[in-house]
C-alpha cells in the first residue's frame, strides 16, 4: 500500500512537469463532427472558415475531430442516426445581417443526451477579422464542456516580416496568422514584444535613424512613444510579469550586453559584463533570475544568473549552438542548431527544459524550427517551422504532448511574439 502511494505521488509530481514526455492513449478524446449551414457567404471565406474551425478544434487537443464537411439547415432537427460513435455535433451558419456585418450562429449538440450544450450568435463588423469568429466559437464550446482553458485561440500574435533588404513591417495577427494587420511600416522595424498580458501595446526597435530606438505602440490608439535609444543594437527581449521592467539587449559601448530597464523610475542597470555576446535575457523564477544566451564558451549556449548577483550558471549541456531562448515561469524553451554546417542546410530543433530540474524534452524532429514562444498560460508553445521550401506555424500543446503545423504564407519572419 505504502509503495503504491509513493508510486502514485511520483506519477503526480512528474505529470505536472512539462519537460517529461506524457504518453496519452490515442483516441480517448470525444469525437466531434461539424455541420455547415452557411449559404450566403463568399465560397472562399466559407471554405477557409470551415478549415479554421477544424484547426481550432484539433489544436485544443480536447477532441477527436471528424474531417468531413457535413451540410444541414441550421434549424432542422439533428439527424443523430448519421453520427454513430460521435459524441458532439457543432452546427454553424455564417450570414450577413441588415447592416452588412458578418454574423455566425452556432450550437454544440450532445448526441448522447440529445441536448444543446451551448448556442450563441456572434458578430464582427470588420469582415477581415473573420478568423476570430471561428476562434471564439471553439473557445466558448470548449469552456462550456468544462475542458482546460484554450484562451490562446483568442490571443494576438505580433511579428515583424521582411519585405526587402533593410525593410520590415510589424504585423498583428490571430494565432494562425490568417488575419493580418500591418501596424508599423516604412524602413526597418524589428523585434516586436508585447508590453502587457492584455496585448494592448507592444515594444519594437526602429532601425531607421543613426541609433536603434525602442518605441512603445498602443495598437488601439494607433500611437507610439519613444522609450530609449542605443548605439549598435537595441532589443526588448522580455517584459516582467507586472510590465514595469524590461530586459534589453543594448550596446552603448558597442558591446552587446543585457540591461534591466525600470520603466517607473527610468533607471538602467547592466546585468552582464562578458566581453563577447550576451543577449536574449528572459525573466525566470518570479523575475528574480534571468536566462540568457551567451558565447562565453566559444559558441552560443543558454545560461542563468540572478538579477542581483554575479555568478553565472550554465543551464544546457547539449547542442553545439543554442542561440535563442524564451521562458515561462521556471520553464525554458530554446532552439538548438543540431548541425554546424556552413555549406548546406542546418537542422534546428526546439527543446523544453526547466530551470529547477535536469529534464530536457525535445519537441521537434526535423527541419528548421525557430522562434519558440510560450502562450500566456505556458501550456502552449508556438514556433515557426521551415521544411524544404515550405514554412509553417507550429503549435505544441505541451500538456497533451501534441503538435500541429499550419502552412504559412507570410514571407520571411524576423521575430515573433505571442
Amino acid at each position: 500500500m505504502r509503495i503504491g502511494l509513493i508510486f502514485l505521488l511520483i506519477i503526480n509530481i512528474f505529470a505536472s512537469d512539462l519537460t517529461l514526455e506524457i504518453v496519452k492513449e490515442v483516441g480517448n478524446e470525444p469525437k466531434v463532427a461539424v455541420e455547415n449551414s452557411s449559404s450566403q457567404v463568399d465560397p472562399k471565406i466559407d471554405r477557409k472558415f470551415f478549415k479554421l474551425l477544424l484547426g481550432d478544434l484539433k489544436v485544443t487537443s480536447h477532441f477527436n475531430v471528424e474531417e468531413n464537411m457535413n451540410l444541414a439547415n441550421y434549424d432542422d432537427p439533428v439527424n443523430s442516426a448519421k453520427y454513430k460513435n460521435v459524441a458532439y455535433l457543432l452546427r454553424y451558419e455564417l450570414f450577413y445581417d441588415d447592416l452588412g456585418d458578418l454574423n455566425a450562429k452556432a450550437f454544440l449538440y450532445d448526441l448522447k443526451t440529445g441536448k444543446k450544450v451551448i448556442e450563441k450568435i456572434y458578430k464582427i463588423s470588420d469582415r477581415a477579422r473573420y478568423p476570430f469568429l471561428a476562434h471564439k466559437i471553439v473557445y466558448d464550446l470548449s469552456r462550456a464542456l468544462g475542458f482546460d482553458d484554450v484562451e490562446f485561440l483568442k490571443s494576438f500574435v505580433v511579428f515583424a516580416k521582411y519585405i526587402s533588404p533593410k525593410k520590415s513591417n510589424i504585423v498583428v495577427s490571430d494565432y494562425t496568422l490568417t488575419y493580418q494587420k500591418s501596424v508599423v511600416s516604412g524602413g526597418l522595424n524589428i523585434f516586436p514584444k508585447w508590453a502587457d498580458r492584455e496585448q494592448r501595446s507592444f515594444y519594437y526597435t526602429d532601425m531607421n535613424g543613426i541609433k536603434p530606438t525602442l518605441y512603445k505602440v498602443d495598437i488601439y490608439k494607433g500611437t507610439k512613444s519613444k522609450v530609449l535609444s542605443s548605439e549598435g543594437m537595441l532589443v526588448c527581449s522580455d517584459v516582467s510579469e507586472d510590465g514595469e521592467k524590461l530586459l534589453l539587449t543594448m550596446a552603448p559601448d558597442f558591446q552587446p550586453d543585457i540591461y534591466l530597464y525600470n520603466l517607473k523610475n527610468g533607471t538602467l542597470k547592466r546585468l552582464t559584463t562578458y566581453k563577447g555576446i550576451d543577449v536574449n535575457g528572459n525573466f525566470t523564477q518570479n523575475d528574480t533570475k534571468l536566462v540568457f544566451v551567451s558565447d562565453r564558451l566559444g559558441y552560443p549556449n543558454i545560461f542563468m544568473k540572478k538579477i542581483d548577483g554575479y555568478g553565472v550558471q550554465r543551464l544546457i549541456y547539449h547542442g553545439r549552438n543554442n542561440s535563442s531562448c524564451t521562458t515561462y515561469k521556471d520553464y525554458v524553451a530554446y532552439s538548438s542548431r543540431e548541425t554546424n554546417n556552413a555549406f548546406g542546410k542546418n537542422t534546428f530543433n526546439i527543446y523544453l527544459a526547466s530551470t529547477k530540474s535536469d529534464f530536457i524534452r525535445r519537441l521537434t524532429a526535423n527541419g528548421v524550427n525557430i522562434f519558440p514562444r510560450f502562450s500566456n498560460d505556458g501550456e502552449t508553445l508556438l514556433y515557426i517551422k521551415e521544411f524544404k521550401n515550405q514554412s509553417g506555424l507550429g503549435v505544441i500543446r505541451l500538456k497533451y504532448n501534441k503538435s500541429y503545423i499550419y502552412p504559412l504564407y507570410v514571407g520571411k519572419i524576423q521575430s515573433i511574439d505571442w
Binding site: P165, L188, I210, F254, V293, S324
Partner: protein, 184 residues
Amino acid sequence: MNIKVIAISFFAATLFFSGCAKKSIEIETPQQTTQQEGASEVEEGSGIKSINEMAEGELSEEQKLELAKKIEAKQKKIYFDFDKYNIRPDQEPRVDYDAKLFNSEEAREFKIKVEGNCDEWGSDEYNYALGLKRAKTVRDALAARGVEPSRMTIISYGESNPVCTEHTRECWAKNRRVEFELIP
C-alpha cells in the same frame, strides 16, 4: 561644304587684315568716344547672396553626398567565417586598404557607419549581436590603423540586409560581411 567655309574665311580674313592695316587708329577712336558718352554699369541686382553661400572650393551637400558615394564604391567589404566575428588573415589586406581609403585626403571629412551583416542561419537576437561584434572588430581594426575612432559609428543589420538571396554556400558567404557607409 568645307571648301566653302575655308573660302569664306579666307575672304573675310583678307578683308580684315587689309582693313586693319589702313584704318586702325580711326576705328579705335569712335569706340572710345561711345563708351565715355552712354554706357553705364547697371548695379542693381548685383551682390545678392543666398543663405549658406559657399566659400570658393567648398562642396555643396549634393556634391558631398556624391563624393561620399564615390569613395564608398571603392571600399572593400570584409568577409567572415560561419558563426565567427574575428578577422580572417586573408581579410587583413582588405582592412589595410579600407583604412588607407578612409584616411585619404578626400575621405577624411566623412563619418563612417560600420555595418555588420549575417547570413540567414541564425536566430533573431544572437544574429544581430553577431553582426554587431563583426562591425566592432572591424571598427577596432580600422582604429588600430589610424582611423579616428570618433569618426566611426557601428550598427548591426543582422540578416535583414542580404546582398544575395539564393540559398547557396557562395551566397551565404557573401552575406557574412561588414560594409561601410560614409556620412557627410
